[in-house]
Amino acid sequence: MARSRAKMIVLYVMVAAVVVWSAFPIYTTVLISLMDTREAVLTPTHWIPQQPTLDWYGRILALVPDATTGKMLAYADAFKQGFVNSIFVACVVTLLSVIVGSVAGYAFARFSFRRKNAWLMSILLSRSLPAAAMAIPFFFMFHQAGLIGTYQGLIITYLSFEIPLATWILMGYFANLPLETERAGRIDGLGRLGVLFRVVIPEAIGGVASVGILLFLISWSEFFFAYILVTGSAAQTVPPAVSELTTIMAGLSPPPELAASLVISMIPALVLGAIFQKYILRLKIVDPVVARTGEEIPFA
């Protein structure tokens, strides 16, 4: 289909506007992170740093000391520890959720049992609870149990909403698999769990992997529970560590410091997000769709 030159120009201008809208906040932050503290607050804004520097990245990662005081940044320890904690918590939660979610999802997909619909309904309901509401009972229970500021508390909290999510999505996956190979597995003498782990999961490995990435991203991105449960403790994850730069140390923390730590904290999510965009977003939408209507929808 041929189009006039004028139409193509309008099209490209509109595409450019959309790209600017999407990229502007990210560009802003990367820009500030590459400036020194003085240049970052200049009026009007420099759109390209005059002397781009990775100094703040080096300081946050404790690779280079502060040029004037000669000391390492105190914040660097908290940030590095947060990174390790975030990866640890996200991995444990993802692994456990995928394992438990596979077993439970398989059970929901293949067996009928008493109150099945009530169980499904309760999974669905747990998806509509806001973090602001759930933080209250969790905080109270962990306070009583002495689990505030520990990995266990945060992991239990994340499991409480990621296991239902994994169960829900994997149920849909398993229900659509053909039964023949499972029967063959049974005839070969495998038990129910054997069939699940030796036959069903390898068959649906693509789906199981994308569920895993989705769950990892949810843990990695979670701020509010982390803030309530582990801020300032040895188990603190990245989100409260970065957020702390704007609140407790308000006015003391220079803009490039926040910008640089924000950029580092976003890299894993952006990389995973860009590579697996299609698969994860499909899950994100199919999950509530299947939940509410039980129907499949067409996709690109």
């Binding site: 099209l11 970052a40 924000l262 977003l281």
Partner: protein, 264 residues
């Protein structure tokens, strides 16, 4: 379910500020909530926030998905780029927009000043209050709608467009009679998701304004947090959180009814 039961029990108790149960309080916390002017104010702010997000998300989703459905060079890479903000966490979106909106070094101020639209740097958040925050949330959320709408646009059979063009239908008429019927379902799903997620949203307000200035951005979720963890009344916070959950379930139920009826 267990945390829910604990929350219900907590909402019926009177707590002291150090987090210990004092006595059974019955419906006292709920009665207090319905008489609390702050609750009414917060509910209104939450509704403004939610409606803005839903409107912007749907309009942006429609516009951008129709645009990216056109043929042009580099389309697939631009699609990935434009949809990418969904991967940025909500708290990080707030901090990104802190750099954009800041009165001292914000790039939006810098841009407007250099374009000659404003004489000096303005306190954007104080002027725009909840709308400015809703816009930031929509930036993070619209990609989900764009992705979903693009998917449903691709299910429209090409011959229907050709037929409509032969019949001499205008662009708007083609959209209304050919495209929209195929998108109706996608639209409703996005309406449900955007509404419930906007009502649940807290990280953005928390990290950008802490409910300020003067409580003008104090959405219901933030008020629940404030009543519980700053003012220190666990029982009252639990009661408020139940009211919030009922509101969200009500919205979900209404959409659910509409959604299932339309399909038949």
């Amino acid at each position: 379910m267990y945390p829910g039961a604990v929350a219900l029990w907590m909402s019926l108790q009177k707590f002291n500020p150090s987090g210990q149960v004092m006595r059974f309080y019955g419906a006292g916390n709920y009665i207090k909530a319905f008489a609390d002017p702050e609750v009414q104010a917060s509910t209104l702010i939450s509704l403004e926030y939610t409606v803005t997000i839903v409107v912007v998300t749907v309009l942006l989703g429609l516009g951008v998905s129709l645009l990216l459905n056109e043929q042009f060079k580099g389309r697939s890479i631009i699609r990935v780029l434009v949809i990418l903000p969904w991967a940025i966490p909500e708290y990080a979106t707030a901090l990104l927009y802190g750099n954009v909106y800041s009165q001292t070094y914000g790039t939006l101020n810098g841009l407007l000043l250099q374009l000659g639209l404003i004489p000096e740097y303005l306190p954007i958040v104080s002027i725009g209050t909840i709308w400015v925050l809703a816009l930031a949330y929509a930036w993070h959320y619209a990609p989900l709608a764009i992705f979903f709408f693009l998917g449903s646009l691709q299910s429209v059979p090409e011959h229907l467009y050709q037929q409509a063009r032969i019949d001499g239908a205008s662009v708007f008429r083609r959209f209304r009679t050919v495209t929209l019927p195929y998108m109706r379902y996608a639209l409703l799903i996005i309406l449900v998701l955007a509404t419930t997620d906007a009502l649940k949203s807290l990280d953005l307000v928390w990290n950008l304004t802490q409910g300020g200035p003067n409580g003008m951005t104090r959405v219901l979720t933030y008020y629940v947090y404030r009543a519980t963890f700053i003012l220190g009344d666990l029982g009252y916070g639990a009661a408020l959180s139940f009211i919030l959950m009922l509101l969200i379930m009500l919205v979900t139920a209404v959409y659910f009814i509409v959604l299932t009826r339309r399909r038949r």
